[in-house]
Amino acid sequence: MIALRGVSLVYPNGTRALDSIDLEIAKGSFVFLVGHSGTGKSSLLRLLYREQLPTRGEVTVDGIRVDKLRRSKVPQLRRNVGVVFQDFKLLTDKTVWENVAFALQVTGARTKDVMRQVPRVLDLVGLAHKSRMFPSELSGGEQQRTAIARALVNNPKILLCDEPTGNLDPANTNEVMDLLHRINLKGTTVLIATHNALVVDRMRRRVIRLEDGKIVADEERGYYLAGPPGGVAERLPTSAQSA
């Protein structure tokens, strides 16, 4: 579903964000991308929805060579790749319904489809009853769920999340992670960049660790910190684990 071969990214100021990345992510998988701030997690995600072009190497998403994609074809790619951010990026003057519908309307969707899809995803994220509320009237978790609904409304095959729980308290974090898990169970490939150790260790899924733009570890059922025995969560008191 996602493949990177020899991908390097050097920003114009000389910063090397990614260095010879080789990576494959299978369809329907649930993958964590971990590492400290500035290790290249967000840069890697940006390559996948072509917000950024690699300096070198090949980026393939759903069979499309993203690094060679013509500008005019980018919208088509993005309808297949949902993106969720730490700061939600909701439009404050639109309701939950309007924020989600917006993503369909601006792609020229028919009203019939808007009326069908929006309730479906609002139902999925559990916000059907709050569809007339504005973002300012929602909790952080609800705002993030609205953002997820917006990312999903076009039925993308891939969902990219850049620190989706970065602004959330533990209860809201769990809520959002459960939702992402459910979305993944429906067949959507989910890739989450995070430095929330608790989340990673609780889920025990594939973990790709970046350091200075390089992949230093790639483990199935991995932990936030390298190697066994146990991850951060297992070294914390049990009360923290259940949070």
Binding site: Y49, R71, S72, V74, P75, Q76, L77, R78, R79, V83, K89, L91, F102, A103, Q105, V106, T107, G108, R110, T111, K112, V114, R150, A151, N154
Partner: protein, 293 residues
């Protein structure tokens, strides 16, 4: 027709348009001023041009014969001139007829009965086929025997044409400058809207809206600025035509104000098109510049 889509689209346009009303009014006002000036300029140029053409066509060479010349001399000369291929017509006006014509012309203004003798010479009035030949024909006639003097209005006509030409160039430069200014102001207005909506545009791009789709509401906004501005200008021009022109015509009776053959409907259409085009191009450029970055 999917009315939901239409409604959403025009909702976006309306939200853009009303977000920066003061800037919007500035843009519309600039277009109005530009189009009013453009319209007045074209009207003035066409009127002056028509007057010039008219005068050129009527240009006449007055050949004043020497006092001692006889009617036979005059008729000989007239026949000779008529033979010239460049000459269209020659009219012989004996001094007596000339006086009678003058009396008619000045009736009620000067008491011509005070004239005790006829001060006028015999005159030949010569018209040429092509105004370009006036100078050459006049020079030929001047050298002929029996001719006292030759007069024609060529200098005045040439001056008139030169003035209208210079005025036309200045006017064109001013209008070009104004159109440019209007384009810059519309472009800045659109840029402000684009800036105010940068979050929405970023989200549109993120969820896969096409560049064209993002661009259209802004193009419509520029189009609205241009069309509303020129419509307002057309209103002002129409008021000027109905109210100002008759007064001007009364004050300057020697200028034929309706000399220019302007089709008002076509002219209005042209001005409206120019306004709309300025709006569309200006917004296209400024959105394009934003979307590229």
């Amino acid at each position: 027709m999917d009315w939901g889509r239409v409604q959403f689209f025009f909702g976006e346009v309306w939200r853009n348009f009303t977000r920066n009303l003061i800037m919007q009014f500035t843009a519309i006002g600039t277009v109005t001023v530009t189009i009013v000036l453009l319209g007045s300029f074209v009207f003035t140029r066409d009127t002056l041009g028509a007057i010039g053409d008219d005068v050129l066509k009527k240009i006449e060479i007055s050949v004043f014969l020497k006092d001692n010349s006889t009617t036979a001399d005059a008729k000989n000369l007239a026949a000779k001139l008529s033979a010239d291929r460049r000459v269209r017509s020659v009219a012989y006006i004996p001094k007596a007829q000339g006086l009678a014509q003058m009396r008619d012309r000045l009736r009620g203004q000067i008491d011509t009965s005070l004239l005790t003798s006829n001060p006028l010479p015999d005159v030949l009035r010569v018209r040429v086929a092509d105004p370009e030949d006036v100078r050459a024909v006049a020079a030929t006639i001047r050298k002929l025997p029996g001719v006292a003097n030759v007069e024609y209005a060529e200098d005045a006509v040439q001056k008139l044409l030169r003035i209208s030409d210079v005025l036309g160039r200045i006017g064109l430069a001013v209008v070009a400058l104004l159109i440019f200014t209007a384009a810059i102001i519309i472009s800045n207005t659109i840029r402000l809207t684009v800036f105010a909506r940068r979050r929405e545009i970023a989200i549109m791009q993120l969820v896969g809206a096409s560049g064209t789709y993002i661009r259209w509401p802004f193009i419509c906004e520029g189009f609205l600025d241009g069309v509303l501005g020129s419509a307002l200008a057309l209103g002002l021009l129409e008021v000027a035509r109905l109210e100002l022109l008759p007064k001007l015509a009364a004050a300057l009776p020697f200028l034929p104000m309706h000399a220019a053959n302007i089709n008002q409907l076509v002219f209005a259409g042209e001005l409206l098109t120019i306004g709309a085009a300025v709006g569309i191009i200006a917004s296209w450029v400024s959105v394009g510049r934003y979307l590229r970055t």
